[in-house]
């Protein structure tokens, strides 16, 4: 049999290098800021983004390029395909501008709760190394708007219920009955309560999900 040269795969020399536990972690920071540069509120369920608002997904310098690779495209639109650079409090960073909005105004009536999603940002460093950062977000309507909308729905609910009862029973007296109005108010309150519970429940579910991820990453010693 013909012999052949031993093929040695490329590998780093067997050196007693510093423990990975002590190698300095990257000092890079990733965050979401408003258009004016203020940090977005952070809850246990993620960054709280509002509809009809513009944001910046920021990453501290030095960085070559940023790219949004995954995001809820029915709610979030990239405002620009290019990355912009800025600085604040002596910290320079690059960012991708985004806007959270409904595709149609009608969606605001049907999608006025909390919508947990994730934004995935692909970061290219100056030496062409790449990494992906995942940021948990919660999309929601601004609080005053939400209150107004809920109240409007609730108040619409009362006459709607009374009118529906009057038409279906051919009984006009129910329109003037305190009992009907009282029942209508209670129904509206039940709706508001149900809505608040639903919102909190969705936030809680997302927070528990993130907590589980945290526990998995930190090997169950914590928590």
């Amino acid at each position: 049999m013909q012999t052949e040269t031993l093929y040695l795969p490329k590998s780093s020399p067997r050196d007693q290098t510093l423990s990975p536990a002590l190698i300095s972690a990257s000092s890079h920071r990733c965050w979401i800021a408003t258009e004016s540069g203020h940090a977005v509120r952070l809850s246990l369920a993620g960054y709280m983004l509002h509809f009809w608002a513009s944001y910046r997904v920021c990453f501290s310098e030095p960085v070559k390029d940023l790219r949004l690779t995954a995001y809820p495209n029915h709610f979030i639109k990239k405002q620009s395909e290019t990355t912009a650079a800025s600085s604040k409090h002596n910290e320079s960073f690059k960012y991708v501008p985004i806007r959270a909005s409904y595709q149609h105004w009608w969606d605001s009536l049907t999608h006025h709760g909390n919508y947990p999603h994730e934004i995935e940002l692909e970061v290219t460093f100056p030496d062409d190394r790449k990494t992906t950062v995942t940021l948990p977000i919660i999309l929601q309507m601004r609080l005053p708007l939400r209150i107004l909308l809920i109240i409007a729905i609730a108040f619409f609910w009362i006459p709607y219920g009374i009118a529906r009862d009057a038409i279906s029973g051919w009984d006009v007296s129910s329109v003037f009955s305190w009992k009907s109005w009282g029942f209508g108010v209670l129904s509206a309150l039940a709706y508001v309560t149900w809505y608040i519970c639903l919102c909190v429940w969705s936030l809680r579910a997302r927070a528990i999900e993130l907590h589980e991820q945290f526990q998995e990453r930190w090997s169950g010693r914590c928590g």
């Binding site: 423990s19 002590l22 965050w31 993620g46 948990p136 909190v200």
Partner: protein
């Protein structure tokens, strides 16, 4: 000029004990060290050693290659030269630079035990003991710093949402954080924590992070432990050791567990489902892990071996095998480890004897020394006797309290001694201990009127005691000459190294009298062949330049002789020697007037090929001369062993009287040419 002491002063002096009573530095930490230490004494060797130690402080550490090569420095001085005091002054470093000086606590040294194991045990002992002057346990200090670094990495690796979750908010806070999203306050607390962790802090401060940053320390410790498990994931011994060591450090710092290090020592470092590993492998990795953590906190590790007589010559009997094992051990460690510095404090005679037992593997490694930029490597430090100004400082220091009691600042610095006595003692070549003993005896005589006379002025062989010394020296000389003769009868070439060293030591001693301006390097080796290439180098100032004369012995005969001669000519080209002249001392019975013509044919060919001109001199040495060379170190060691205070000047006088034949062999010394 004499200092007269009046009765009143004498009364005050007598109310104090003799301040020169302690001439011997104990082999344990002396609490009064700072009071008795005088910076000016041995300032130069101390600075050299501090420089060497500081070269092991690395600013950046990425792998073991960041550490300088291990090396050994031998501090040589006669008995009573102040070696132990010098070591203690290094331990009590006054500039406060941290350093880990590892010293033996007892005389146990088992040559059958792995030397790395021995060093490892010494290192552990030293890490766990409170430091001599600061009282700090080095393990705790290192643990605090390492824990802080790991905490910093841990905090840095937590994402924003993880930081929120890590605070583990409960009940009301949890819902507030969930619904209102005020987590940025918590992020800023983590930012502040990271900034605080960037600065060095004590263990106490680290444990108070809970109060300062409202973060539970147990939680932080858990996170740090998890981070450690997640990042240091290797399955080999070193990774396992690092995990256990760093975890022990975190426990010791954050949970105040005093037995954390003991738990680390008892841990099983064997990789899971891997072959059984030898203890020596584990010890090597353990030692490396400890050297690494010390390097990370810029803590040089110095193994200092003092009082070698204690374990290499117990009861005055020199144990050659033990000495060889000790030096081989150091050499092996130098070969296998980076970042370790060895300081060997040895008495001249003991050192010569040790080297004779060291193999050819050990010697070059021990001689490599510590390299500095722009300076030759430092492998040896000779402790010379303190001169008059230093002696005056010593007197002033020891008399400090008494002078305060006398309230007389106008007293001369040599008070209460006569200036003549101080000058004579200061200028003598006696070791420091001898000088202190002379001061003690004189002080007793002056103050207490003691009948015991001070130690004799040195170098003058007169008086009954000196006659006794001279007789003793002559008796030992005769014995050692006989011993040397017997050795040479067995083999001349086999004693080549001892002969070369003896020649060098002899020239060094004799030259100190005949040509004090010259510097002698008693023993230098050139080339790869351990049998040849041994030289003594004499540097003589002449007309503003330095003449470098290499002196080598041509001992081989037959086939080896041309090689032996060839190796001698290497002295002209070797970087270490760079000889400007060469003297070859040929061991022969030939009586021919022209020695070159008497060389065997092939050796003559080498001589002719080398174009040996007036720069090279061939001289004859007879059996008698060789006996002197071999006998001298034996004699010197013996007289010093029997009489530790045997004056250096007396040795020099003895050499010039008895070894004139050797001294005249070399022209600049004998001044014949």
């Amino acid at each position: 000029m004499s200092t007269a002491i009046d009765e009143k002063t004498l009364a005050i002096l007598r109310s104090f004990p003799n301040p020169f009573a302690d001439g011997v530095c104990p082999q344990f930490t002396d609490p009064t060290f700072r009071d008795i230490h005088i910076q000016e004494i041995f300032a130069e060797p101390r600075e050299q050693l501090f420089k060497a130690i500081d070269s092991y402080r690395v600013a950046n550490y990425t792998s073991n290659h960041s550490l300088p090569l291990s090396a050994a420095i031998t501090i040589i001085g006669p008995r009573g030269a102040g070696k132990t005091h010098l070591l203690e002054s290094i331990q009590h470093r006054f500039d406060g630079q941290p350093q880990l000086i590892v010293v033996r606590q007892n005389e146990s040294f088992d040559e059958d035990l792995s030397f790395e194991e021995y060093l490892y045990q010494l290192l552990i002992q030293s890490l766990l003991e409170p430091h001599a002057s600061s009282g700090v346990r080095y393990f705790d200090a290192i643990a605090t710093q390492l824990t802080r670094l790991i905490l910093l990495q841990t905090v840095g690796s937590l994402s924003a949402i993880e930081q929120l979750i890590a605070t583990n908010p409960g009940g009301k806070n949890w819902y507030r954080l969930l619904c209102w999203g005020n987590g940025n306050d918590i992020l800023s607390r983590f930012n502040m924590l990271a900034k605080d962790l960037e600065k060095p802090a004590s263990a106490e401060e680290l444990r108070h992070l809970e109060i300062r940053h409202q973060l539970k320390e147990a939680r932080l410790a858990d996170l740090a432990m998890t981070y450690l498990q997640r990042t240091e994931t290797g399955a080999e011994s070193l990774s396992i050791i690092r995990r256990e060591l760093y975890a022990a450090m975190i426990r010791a710092t954050m949970s105040n567990q005093s037995d954390a290090f003991d738990q680390f020592l008892e841990a099983d470092y064997r990789p899971v489902n891997k072959r059984a590993i030898f203890r020596t492998e584990v010890v090597r990795q353990l030692l490396f892990a400890l050297v690494e953590v010390c390097a990370l906190v810029q803590l040089p590790i110095v193994f200092a071996f003092d009082n070698l007589e204690g374990f290499l010559a117990p009861g005055g009997k020199f144990l050659g095998r033990k000495a060889a094992s000790f030096l081989e051990g150091i050499a092996q460690t130098i070969d296998h480890f980076r970042g370790l510095l060895f300081l060997v404090f040895a008495e001249e005679g003991m050192f010569t004897e040790m080297r004779q037992h060291a193999g050819t593997f050990a010697r070059p490694r021990l001689d490599r020394g510590v390299s500095f930029p722009g300076m030759p490597p430092l492998d040896r430090v000779h402790l010379s006797s303190p001169r008059l100004p230093e002696l005056k400082k010593l007197i002033l220091n020891r008399m400090c309290k008494i002078r305060d009691a006398l309230a007389a600042s106008a007293l001369p610095e040599w008070f209460p001694f006569p200036l003549e006595f101080v000058t004579e003692t200061g200028n003598s070549g006696q070791a420091i201990r001898g000088k202190i003993e002379a001061l003690r005896a004189k002080y007793d005589a002056l103050v207490f009127g003691s009948v015991s006379s001070p130690a004799p002025p040195l170098g003058k062989l007169d008086g009954d005691k000196d006659k006794e010394l001279a007789l003793f020296a002559a008796r030992v000389w005769k014995l050692k000459q006989g011993e040397a003769g017997r050795k040479l009868d067995v083999s001349v070439l086999g004693n080549g190294q001892d002969l070369a060293q003896g020649l060098g030591e002899l020239l060094k001693t004799g030259l100190a009298v005949l040509n004090p301006a010259a510097t002698v390097h008693p023993f230098l080796e050139v080339g790869d062949d351990p049998r040849y290439g041994r030289f003594c180098l004499v540097e003589c100032p002449s007309n503003g330049t330095i003449v470098r004369i290499a002196i080598g012995l041509l001992l081989a005969s037959g086939k080896g002789m041309p090689m032996d001669l060839q190796s001698k000519f290497a002295a002209f080209h070797d970087e270490k020697i760079r000889a400007s002249r060469l003297v070859v001392l040929w061991s022969t019975n030939n009586t021919s007037a022209n020695l070159v013509d008497a060389l065997p044919e092939r050796t003559r060919q080498v001589w002719d090929d080398a174009k040996a001109d007036i720069k090279t001199t061939l001289r004859k040495v007879g059996p008698e001369d060789l006996r002197l060379m071999l006998a001298f170190p034996l004699w010197r060691d013996e007289v010093r062993k029997e009489n530790p205070d045997f004056p250096e000047v007396a040795i020099r006088t003895f050499v010039t009287d008895n070894c004139q034949a050797i001294l005249t062999l070399v022209p600049p010394i004998g001044k014949q040419e």
